[in-house]
Each structure stands twice: as structure tokens, then as C-alpha cells.
Symmetry: C2
Subunit: 199 residues, 2 copies
């Protein structure tokens, strides 16, 4: 026996969420239909609206519903500092955990030649223009402490080194090797940020 | 700093899902917007359709997108057996784990006087009519092995005892006390079902 077709479809559809296997998808479907229809309707509509309206900031590539994100548009940030991260979640983690007041650049990934992900796919052409603008005095590399994150940091460090007057730093290895920035606790992340070293 | 308003709203909305806290809601929102927009759109539309079209079976109260559910409409079930469960997930668990070929009746909850949930709220008026129909020869009580589940089973056992010719059984206490039926492993559940005893 199986569920009615629509319930089966809902269980299947819920599995697109990260970390949701068949059992939790089933639990979520029943929960939504049993007792949280209003919340479910709200979730569905919010999700559709976000998917339709949230794009990428023209300047930093972060997720944004406006052409330029709030952070890039802010006049209270130090525009000479540029912190390079892999994902929007990393921007959030750093902004929460540290006193950093500069701008960000979000790669939306990392270099991964085996998967066919090259410099253009992570916006390094745009980053190059940014570095050429003469506005940046320090690039802080805050990619993940993974093999791909390290390789990406190394690649960007070389890009920056070719421009004059730009210091390049890497956040300290307080971040455990192999760890994803998003899941590091705040104090570790904060210290790693303070102890960044010039490359 | 916070995310853009729509992203914040999406993170908030995702928290209506059971077991999803702030951190996983954030992770889900980024994941959907970063790399799973098609899946997200499909999820939203499926959820809206399910919420709109899935109601309750007229006969057993299970979730169903047709007035009478597939199981109640089937002509291959033994219509003299009626298994009483608390939730649609329990129907699924029993149908998967056991050889049971009768019908179900889904309370969509349990008696809970402190929360103001009485007999009418769990459909016992409809169950009474069902018992009066003369069609039922055995009622199998498969409510959870919790205090409320036991009390509900006891209440229904008394209802059935007032009708003539209806045997009442309770699934065996192979189900661990305090455990929720939905999470019991198949073999335990199957044995408990086979070893049900008359009340
Ligand atoms: Zn931006
Ligand atoms: Zn039914």
C-alpha cells in the first residue's frame, strides 16, 4: 500500500531539502497536512516569491533581491577591505562572529577543475575588475579550509599579487582543516579572522 | 547584519517544518536559492496543491484527496476488521510492517481532556456509527503505547463492548512503553500486531 498520489508527490518533493531523507519527508508531509496547513501555505508562497525575486548582487554576487545588496550599498562599510568567501552563509557567519567592517565578495562555490568549475564560474573576472578599480587595499581570503577552498584562495592570492598596493591575507588556521566555515563556532571563527596573516 | 528581507522571511517560513531549527532553516534557504530553485519551485507548487486538495476520507478520516480513500474503496480488504490508529503515518507503518488486510479508522489524535480534546474531536461519533453498522466483527486498538493512547484505547474498548458481537483486541506490548508507533521498527510492530490480545 502507498499513500494517495498527492501525498506521495509531496513526500518526494520535500526530499529536495538538504538533510531530509524519506522518513523525515514523510513526517513533514503528514505534519503539514495534519496541523500546519496555514504555515505550509505561507512557506510555499514565500518560497515561490523568494525564488522569483532573489537574484545576485551585481557587485558582490551575494544573494539579493535588489540589484545591489544592502551590504554593498551601505555607506558605513570600509570599502578598501574585501573579504572573499564561498557562500552567502559564510558572509552571514563572518558578519555575526567578527568585527569585520569591510565588503564581501561571494564566489558561490570554489574552483573545482574536475567538476568543470573554473575561474569564470566563480566570478573571478568580476573580482579582477574589482581589484583593478584601485579601491581595494586588502583582500582577505576566507574560503573554506578544504582542499578546494585552499586552492581557490591560492589562485586569488596570485591574482591580487599581480596588482600593486593590495595586501592579501588568509584567515588563520584556527578553522579546523577539512571544516566548512558555515559550521565553525563563533569564537573560533572570530579568532581565525583576527589572526589572519599576510600571504 | 541580517539577510535581505525575503531571505529572512524564507528562513522564518521554513521553521514551520517539524525538527527544523534556525540553523537548518538557514541552510535550507541558502541551498534552495543557491542550487535547487527548480526543486524548490516544484516543492512549493506541490505543497499548495496538496494543501488545497487533500482532505479527510469520509469513512476512515485518513488523509485523502478523494472523498473515500483508496483503502476504504478497495474491494480486497476484509471489511469486518477495523484497526484504530492515531495518525495517517500509523496506517502506513502497519500496512508496511504487517499482513493486516482489514480497514482502518484514523482518530487524527487521541483523547486529551487537559487540551480540550474530547471524543467528538477524534471522530468517535463517526466510529460509533461504524460500530452500529453490524459490519464489524473485530476492533483492533493500535493507538500509541503512551498514557493518552492507552486511555483512548480504553475508551474505545468500552464503546465497542456496548455493542454485541464485536471482539476488541489491543496490539501486544511488544511496542515499547512511551514509544510512538510511527518510529517502532517493523519486526517489533509486526509481532505486536500478531500477538494482539482480546480485551
Ligand atoms: Zn553586494
Ligand atoms: Zn478511508
Amino acid at each position: 500500500m502507498s499513500f494517495s498520489p498527492l501525498i506521495n508527490q509531496l513526500i518526494e518533493a520535500l526530499r529536495c531539502l538538504p538533510g531530509v531523507g524519506p522518513k523525515s519527508a514523510q513526517r513533514m508531509a503528514f505534519y503539514l497536512l495534519d496541523r500546519e496547513r496555514e504555515g505550509g501555505r505561507h512557506l510555499a508562497n514565500t518560497l515561490l516569491e523568494a525564488i522569483e525575486k532573489v537574484g545576485h548582487c551585481e557587485q558582490c554576487r551575494n544573494l539579493s533581491e535588489t540589484p545591489v545588496c544592502q551590504l554593498c550599498a551601505s555607506d558605513s562599510r570600509d570599502r578598501s577591505l574585501l573579504c572573499i568567501v564561498e557562500t552567502p552563509a559564510d558572509v552571514h557567519a563572518i558578519a555575526q562572529a567578527t568585527e569585520y567592517k569591510g565588503l564581501f565578495f561571494v564566489l558561490m562555490g570554489h574552483l573545482s577543475p574536475l567538476d568543470g568549475i573554473g575561474p569564470l564560474d566563480i566570478g573571478l573576472d568580476k573580482l579582477g575588475e574589482r581589484l583593478d578599480s584601485g579601491e581595494i587595499s586588502e583582500v582577505i581570503l576566507a574560503t573554506n579550509a578544504t582542499v578546494e577552498g585552499e586552492a581557490t584562495a591560492h589562485y586569488i592570492a596570485e591574482m591580487a599579487a599581480r596588482r600593486e598596493g593590495i595586501n592579501v591575507s588568509r584567515i588563520a588556521q584556527g578553522v579546523p582543516m577539512g571544516g566548512e566555515l558555515e559550521y565553525v563556532n563563533s569564537s573560533t571563527l572570530s579568532r581565525a579572522f583576527l589572526e589572519r596573516h599576510r600571504l
